[in-house]
Amino acid sequence: MCGIVGYAGRRNALPILLDGLKRLEYRGYDSAGVAIVGSRLQVEKDKGFIADLEAKLPPMVGTTGLAHTRWATHGPPNQVNAHPHVDCTGKLALAHNGIIENFAELREDLEAKGHTFRTQTDTESLVHLIESLYRGNLEEAVREALHAVHGSFAIAAIHADEPGRVVGARNESPLVVGVGPDENFLASDVPALLRYTDKVIYLMDGEMVVLTPTSAVVKDSQGTVVERAPERIAWNLEDAEKGGFEHFMLKEIFEQPKAVHETLLGRVANLEVDGFFTEGFTGVKLVACGTSYHAALVGKYILEEIARVPTDAELASEYRYAHGPQERPLVILISQSGETADTLGAAREAKRRGCRTLAICNVVGSTLTRESDKTIYTRAGPEIGVAATKTFVTQVVALYLIALRMGLDRGLLGYEEADRLKDELRSLPRAVQSVLNQSRFIEALAEKYGDARDMFYIGRHVNYPIAMEGALKLKEISYIHAEAYAAGELKHGPLALVGPSTPIVAIAVRDAVYEKMRSNIGEVAARGAPIVAIGTEGDKELSKFVDDVVYVPKLSPIFYPIPVTVVTQLFGYYAAKRRGCPIDKPRNLAKSVTVE
C-alpha cells in the first residue's frame, strides 16, 4: 500500500505533487519520490518521510509529473527501492501501488532480453516491460504491458518524449482523477486533490486514463473511450486538517459526539437505514480486518442480543480462503476505507458463495461499496490518524441500527422495547461527551500507569472485544505491549504473567456479568497487579476493589462498548503522548491496507 499523485497542467508540477503526497502520507511513509518531465525527465527519491525528501530536493522544473509515497512490501525501504522507478533509457518513470504477482517470471524474461534491473521491487518488472513495448506512444505501451501482468495495482507513468501527458491505470487498487480547468490530476485518494478541484472521476478496475492539461480521457482495457461525467466532492479539505489539536487522533477522538450524531441522523425515528436486507437468510456473517474486525466481534453480541439472529464474526483474510459451509448467511463487510484488500477479497468470495452482501463503510464510492449489494455509510468524516477512533465507534453504532431494524422485521423485538432501545441510541453522543469531559482525569491515569512494559485488558461479553480494541490502540500508538483476555480465561493461563508490574484495565460496567468480573478482578488483585476499572456511574462498590475507576454513564448493558471505547482511546493516546510517540503515524503501520 502506497500513495500516488500525478499532474498534467500549466503550473510547475513539483509543489502540487508534494502537497498531494503529504495528504496521502497516511497510506504509507517509509520512502517517497518525485518524477517530473520538463526539458528532460528528472527523478528524485529517498527513504524517510516526505518532508525529509522535500528538504533535500534540487530545483525541478516541469509541468508534468508524478510522485509516490511508499510503504514497503517487496524489498526494504531504501533509496533504491523507492518509487518512481525508471527504465534503462532513463526516459520512462512509473509509480505503482499494489502487487504484481508474476513479476519474477517477467523479470527473468526481461533480464534475458538485456534489461538491467536496479531494485528488488515487483514494480521494476513493469517499468522494463513497458519500455520493451514502447514505440513512441506511452498509452499503447502501458495498455499492452498490463495485458501481460497479473496482480492488483494502480499506476501512473510519464515519458520524457511525451511532455504534458500522464497515463494512469487501475486494477483492484484505488485511483481517482481530478478534473480542473487547464490542469488534471491523478491520486490514490481524494484528499490529495481537494485543494485544487472538487470534481473527480473514479476509475473502475481494468480502466486507464490519459491526462493532458486540457483533457482526461478514460478508456477500457481495449482502448475504447468510456464516457463518465465527473462527480462533485461535498467535503472539503479543512475537514482533513488538525485545527488546533496536537494530533489528528485527539481531534478525531473529540469529534466522536458529532460523528455519532451524523451516523444516527435521520435514521432513528423510523429506523430507515438505506434499505438493506433483513429477511431471507438464517444467519449473519460479519467479516473485517483489524479494528473493523473488533467492531464485527461487538456486532456478533449486538445482533444476537437485539435481533436474535445467529451471528458469526470472521477475519477477512481467513474467510476469503476458507471453504464455506452450505448455508448462505447475509455477509456484512466492515471497512473504513472500503479499499482494504482482504475485505474486498472476502466480498468477492461471499458473492461467489451466493451470499448477499452489505457493506458498512465510511468512504462514499469506494470499491467495497460498489462491489456490495447494499451499503450503510458511517458518515464519520475523513479520518487521518492511523489509529482508527471515530470510524470504529460509528461502525458499532451502525451495527446497533442494523440490529434494531432486523429485530423489528423478524418480529423478535417488540415496538415498546424498540422505542426504549432507540432512546438509548440517541443518548450515545452524550455518553461519549461525558467521557471526553473526563479527559484530564484519564490523562492523569496514563501518567500513573504509562511506564509499564506490559499491560492487560480484561472484559466479558460485549466488552471483551472492546478490551481487544483497547489493547490494540495502546500497542499501535504507544508501543506498550498489551494483551486482551476474556476475563473468564485468565485462570486458564494468562494469570501466570500477572504481577505488580503489569497494570490491568478491567471493564466492569453494571451488566449481567458484573459479579463475575468482580471475582476476576479479585484474582488479579491477589497477584498484586494495579487495576484501573471502567465502571458505571453511581457504582460505589467498585472503587473499594481497584486502584482507580473511570466512570461511564449508565446505559442498557449492550450499549456500554461506545463510552468504554472512548475511555480506552484517551488512555492509549495520553500514554503514547507522554512517551513522545509519533501518534498519527506509528511505525510500520498504514491507514488502509490495500495489499494482502
Binding site: 479543512e238 488546533g244 481531534k251 473529540f254 440517541r426
Partner: protein, 396 residues
C-alpha cells in the same frame, strides 16, 4: 489586521451551563456565541484570528478547527491559568505585531461593532455603548471622543455608557500589562484605563448590536437576538396538517409529526423529532437530535443537543442543557422567580427553569419558576422542586 478573541474563561456565573464547556460555546440560535464574534470579524475582512483558549478548550478546537469553515484562519493560544483578560491577551503576545483588535468571545456582536472599531484608523481605541444596566459593567468617562477612564461596577450611576471590551491596540500595551500585573491587576480595562493616562485612547461609540450574558437567563435575550435573523429552511419530513408560521429553520433529518404548530422565529437543528400536536412558540432554539413529545408546548427557550422532553409538558422561558431528559408531564412554566447564582439572589421577572446537562427528570416533575437543576442530577417521579438542586444530586 489580526484580531484576538478572548475565550479562555469558564463563565462561572452561567451556572450549570458551563459545567463542561466554556461560556463562549453556549449555543444561542443553535450557534455558539463565539461564532457570532468570528462572523462579525470575517464580514469586515478580518480573517487572521488568534483565539485564546483555556477552560475546556477542546470544545472550541473541535468546533472551529482551523477556521476555514467560517472563512477565517484561526490560530489557538492556551492560557493555562485564567487570571484575567490582560493576562489572556499577554498569552497571545508572540502572535501579534502592529495594531490588532481585541474582542471578548462571550459578547454577541454584529458586524457593525467591528466596522465602527475599524473606522478608528490609528492609535488605541475602545468601543463603548449605551447600556440599561451600567452598574454591572465598566462605566466610561469620555471627553471629546477621548477616553478619560473606566470605573468598574460603580456604586452610583455616573453615566450609561459602558466599555464593551472591544479594543484596537498595539504592542505598546504589553509593557503596561506587565506593569499592572506586578501590582496584581490582570484585567484589561485597568490596563486600558492606565494607558489613557499617558496616551490618547479613542472612545468609539457604536450603534451596532452588543449583547452580553451576565446570568443564565440573559441567554434567552441573546437567543432572541440570534433568531431575529434566522432563515426560513425546510428539511426532513414534515407530516400533513403541520402549521408553520413565521420564519422557521428546520434541519436535515427532522421529523415534524402531524398536528404540530410551529410559530417562528424558531431554529430546529438536524435530527429533531417533534411529536404530534406539539406547540413550539417564539423564540425557541432546539439543538441537534432534540425530541419533543406529543402535546408538549415549548416557548421562548433554549433546548440544547440531545434534549428529550416527554409528552404533555410545558417549558417556558427556560434553558435546558445538552442531554437532559424529562419523562411525561414536565411542568416548567414561566413567572416571577428568585434565582441563586454564586451565592447571590436575583429576582427575575419572567423565568421558567434552568436545567443542567444530562439531568434526568421523572414523570410529572414540577419545577417552580427559577428552579436551577445541576448537572447530572436525578429527579424522581412526581417531585416538586424549587431553589437550586446541586450537581449530581438526587431528588426522591
Amino acid at each position: 489586521m489580526k484580531a484576538v478573541i478572548l475565550s479562555a474563561g469558564e463563565g462561572a456565573r452561567m451556572g450549570p451551563f458551563t459545567a463542561s464547556e466554556p461560556k463562549v460555546m453556549i449555543p444561542v440560535g443553535n450557534r455558539p456565541i463565539l461564532e457570532y464574534v468570528v462572523q462579525a470579524l470575517v464580514e469586515n475582512g478580518v480573517h487572521e484570528l488568534v483565539v485564546v483558549v483555556g477552560y475546556h478548550r477542546e470544545r472550541i478546537l473541535s468546533h472551529f478547527q482551523d477556521g476555514k469553515a467560517y472563512g477565517a484562519h484561526i490560530r489557538y493560544v492556551i492560557q493555562g491559568k485564567q487570571l484575567g483578560t490582560a493576562h489572556a491577551l499577554a498569552a497571545a503576545r508572540a502572535e501579534l505585531a502592529d495594531r490588532f483588535i481585541v474582542l471578548n468571545g462571550s459578547n454577541m456582536i454584529d458586524a457593525r461593532v467591528v466596522e465602527d472599531l475599524l473606522g478608528q484608523k490609528t492609535g488605541p481605541a475602545v468601543v463603548i455603548t449605551q447600556s440599561d444596566r451600567p452598574r454591572s459593567y465598566g462605566v466610561v468617562t469620555v471627553e471629546g471622543g477621548r477616553l478619560v477612564g473606566i470605573t468598574e461596577k460603580p456604586a452610583e450611576v455616573i453615566s450609561n455608557l459602558i466599555n464593551t471590551g472591544a479594543y484596537a491596540l498595539d504592542a505598546t500595551i504589553f509593557p503596561e500589562i506587565e506593569r499592572l500585573a506586578s501590582q496584581g491587576k490582570h484585567d484589561l480595562p485597568s490596563v486600558v484605563s492606565g494607558l489613557a493616562g499617558t496616551r490618547e485612547v479613542a472612545a468609539v461609540r457604536t450603534q451596532g448590536m452588543w449583547v452580553d450574558a451576565l446570568y443564565p437567563w440573559d441567554l434567552l435575550r441573546l437567543n432572541q437576538s440570534a433568531l431575529a435573523s434566522v432563515g426560513d429552511v425546510r428539511s426532513g419530513t414534515i407530516e400533513p396538517n403541520v402549521t408553520i408560521r413565521g420564519r422557521v429553520s428546520i434541519g436535515d433529518g427532522c421529523a415534524i409529526r402531524s398536528g404540530a404548530y410551529l410559530q417562528g422565529p424558531l431554529a430546529l437543528g438536524p435530527g429533531c423529532e417533534i411529536g404530534p400536536h406539539a406547540v413550539l412558540l417564539p423564540s425557541t432554539s432546539l439543538g441537534k437530535n432534540v425530541r419533543i413529545g406529543a402535546l408538549t408546548t415549548v416557548s421562548n427557550s433554549i433546548l440544547m443537543d440531545d434534549v428529550s422532553i416527554g409528552p404533555s409538558s410545558v417549558v417556558q422561558d427556560s434553558v435546558v442543557a445538552s442531554g437532559a431528559t424529562a419523562r411525561a408531564g414536565l411542568m416548567a412554566a414561566s413567572g416571577r422567580g428568585d434565582v441563586q447564582v454564586e451565592g447571590e439572589w436575583h429576582e427575575v421577572p419572567q423565568i421558567g427553569a434552568l436545567i443542567g446537562e444530562d439531568v434526568e427528570l421523572g414523570n410529572g416533575a414540577s419545577l417552580a419558576c427559577g428552579t436551577v437543576v445541576g448537572t447530572r442530577a436525578r429527579v424522581a417521579d412526581g417531585a416538586r422542586l424549587r431553589g437550586t438542586i446541586p450537581a449530581h444530586g438526587t431528588v426522591l
